[in-house]
Amino acid sequence: MAWNVPGGSGGDKDPWGQRRKPGQAPDLDQIVRNIQQRLSGLFGGRRGGGGGARGFGIGLILLVIVGVWLLSGIYIVQQGERGVVLRFGEKHRVTDAGLRWHFPYPIEWVEKVNVEKVSTIEIGYRSNPRTGGRSKVPKEALMLTEDENIIDVEFAVQYKIKDAGDFLFNVRDPEVTIAAATESAVRESVGKSTLDFALTEGREQLAQNARELLQQILDRYESGIDILAVETQRAQPPDEVKPAFDDAVKAREDEQRLKNEAEAYANDVIPRARGAAARLIQEAEGYKASVIARAEGDARRFTQIATEYVKAPAVTRERLYIETMEQVLSNSTKVFVDQKTGNLLYLPIDRLAPRGDGATAAMPTPPTSEADSGAAGRDAAAARGRADARRRGGG
């Protein structure tokens, strides 16, 4: 019969559970009763008949019975299994896979153990292989850390049987033993670490420690079990405090986000400032070039006129004056006021309303300290305007 079916629902896998109650003799009574029945069938069923033929018949029946009994010793050990043969209850031999024979019961019997199968024990949760879902077992999962915090951990333990004999004969309820020992080992190793360590870089370390501890424990019991792996399925703060922990994680991200936003701001402001600075300098360069060029142009023009003027000063003066006045008067609105007769001066108000720059109501005599043509001052940039004002104020 299949003996080793761990990881199940903890059903009755003990072959003794089917043949006898623990602590009682093997069920020889049953055998005896069987034999008694058979014999009474052989002998009691006879009434009269020929002696010799009957004797032969009885012999034949006995022979068949013995044959069947001998054949009942054939058994098959599957791949990955070991058959442990007990002779009168003593461990006699261990057989490998194949077709085998043992002396029939009650002389020998065999128990098979699968030594290849990897079984899993779950601590802190149970997964349901049929639905694929998993349910928590908080009682197992919640444990104390060294700094007296509570952590929520889930472990999976994978093991297989390394020694069929030890597994069969040394420990009762091996699965229960592994589960309890695992819990003990895991809690011991978690109890030796701080919460933060267990939640972060310590996960592997914890599982490793638990594995070593667990193997030691099971070896001490000579349980014949080999722990292949203890894996941390999950390590997290308990549900009650999870929001607070999540918030702390979020806070870390917020910190980063705030920094990044500030960096973004800086990355926006500084290049803009550099651009503005470059603009200022370029404008200044432009101003410098234009001012120099204008000066040179004006100077050249003046020099040309001046050299001609020297040749005929009076005429040139007169001409220039008249031309100028012509231009001025033709380009502006004029109001004639005869001073001898004008005792009351009427001027239409709307015509005299100020009209922006350059609107003047009399002959202007602007104080020009700088040799700047009038147009240049009007469409200059704000920065320049400031500069000019300062220069005017300072000069």
Binding site: V171, E261, A299, K334
Partner: protein
């Protein structure tokens, strides 16, 4: 051969078989056995295998020889600082001396478990009473188990039992204490969260301020440079003007003024109140002499 003979033979054969079966007993790898005759223990500690006894009057009694588990229910224990912890422990034991075991606890597992439980409980009470919570959870855990194992083993020898291991399976805080632990953990986390956010704000503020400082410095530097450049331009222009105008200062004033008039009055919006007696209009009044 009569029928009665046959029946007699049958009965005799049956008796022989039953007697033979009763003369043998086998011991499994998993069990220990004692042979009792009228309440007296004849033999014990037979090796596994087939053995012979006197039929009918000798009785073989079997005990499980495997490692067994005594899993105690979780129980509260007081630590040194008078705090309760809930301890769930289990004991791994096996029958060592079948004779002693039979005599003291009658070979009853339940009885043996009861005795073990008493022993382990008193041991736990002692060990936990000597230590504080932190050491029972963390540092002294292994020590406690070791001490308890040795102690329980010594005590259990009287019952022919060998205790291999006493293990603390779980050491937990009572529920109401767990709640306060959760509260503390929450408080700790929110402290950390606040700290992190504040640090973020701090860093962000520094970065912003730094950026603004850089902006101011950049602009001011640029202003300085720009003004210097403008000044250079103005300087050069002045030199140029001075050079050319300086040669004809008297004509320059005249010429420049005329230019200024032109520039100043070129808009239709400009209103000039003109006195006709000005020099310009002299020919309007009286034509050339």
């Amino acid at each position: 051969m009569t029928q009665t003979k046959l029946i007699a033979i049958g009965i005799v054969a049956l008796l022989a078989i039953v007697t033979m079966l009763s003369a043998f007993y086998s011991v499994d790898e998993r069990e220990k056995v004692i042979v009792v005759r009228f309440g007296q223990i004849l033999r014990h500690d037979d090796m596994p295998g087939l053995h012979i006894k006197t039929p009918f009057i000798d009785d073989a009694r079997y005990f499980d020889s495997r490692i067994l588990t005594m899993d105690a229910d979780p129980q509260p224990f007081l630590t040194r600082e008078k705090k309760y912890v809930i301890v769930d422990s289990f004991v791994k034991w096996r029958v060592l001396d079948a004779r002693q075991y039979y005599l003291t606890v009658g070979g009853q597992e339940t009885e043996a478990r009861r005795r073990l439980e008493q022993v382990v409980n008193s041991g736990l009470r002692d060990e936990f009473g000597k230590r504080d919570v932190q050491s029972v959870i963390s540092t002294e855990r292994g020590k406690i188990m070791q001490v308890l194992t040795e102690y329980a083993d010594r005590e259990a020898r009287r019952f022919g039992i060998h205790v291999l291991d006493v293990r603390l399976q779980r050491v937990d805080l009572p529920d109401e204490v767990s709640q306060s632990v959760f509260q503390r953990m929450k408080a700790e986390r929110s402290r950390i969260a606040n700290e992190l956010r504040a640090q973020g704000e701090e860093a962000a503020e520094k970065i912003r301020a730094n950026a603004e400082r850089q902006r101011e410095v950049l602009l001011a530097d640029a202003y300085r440079q720009a003004e210097r450049i403008r000044g250079e331009g103005d300087g050069r222009a002045t030199t140029v003007y001075a050079e050319s105008f300086g040669r004809y200062p008297e004509f320059f004033a005249y010429y420049r003024s005329l230019n200024a008039y032109k520039e100043s009055f070129k808009n239709k919006d400009d209103i000039m109140i003109v006195d006709p007696s000005s020099d310009f209009f002299k020919y309007m009044k009286k034509p050339a002499r």
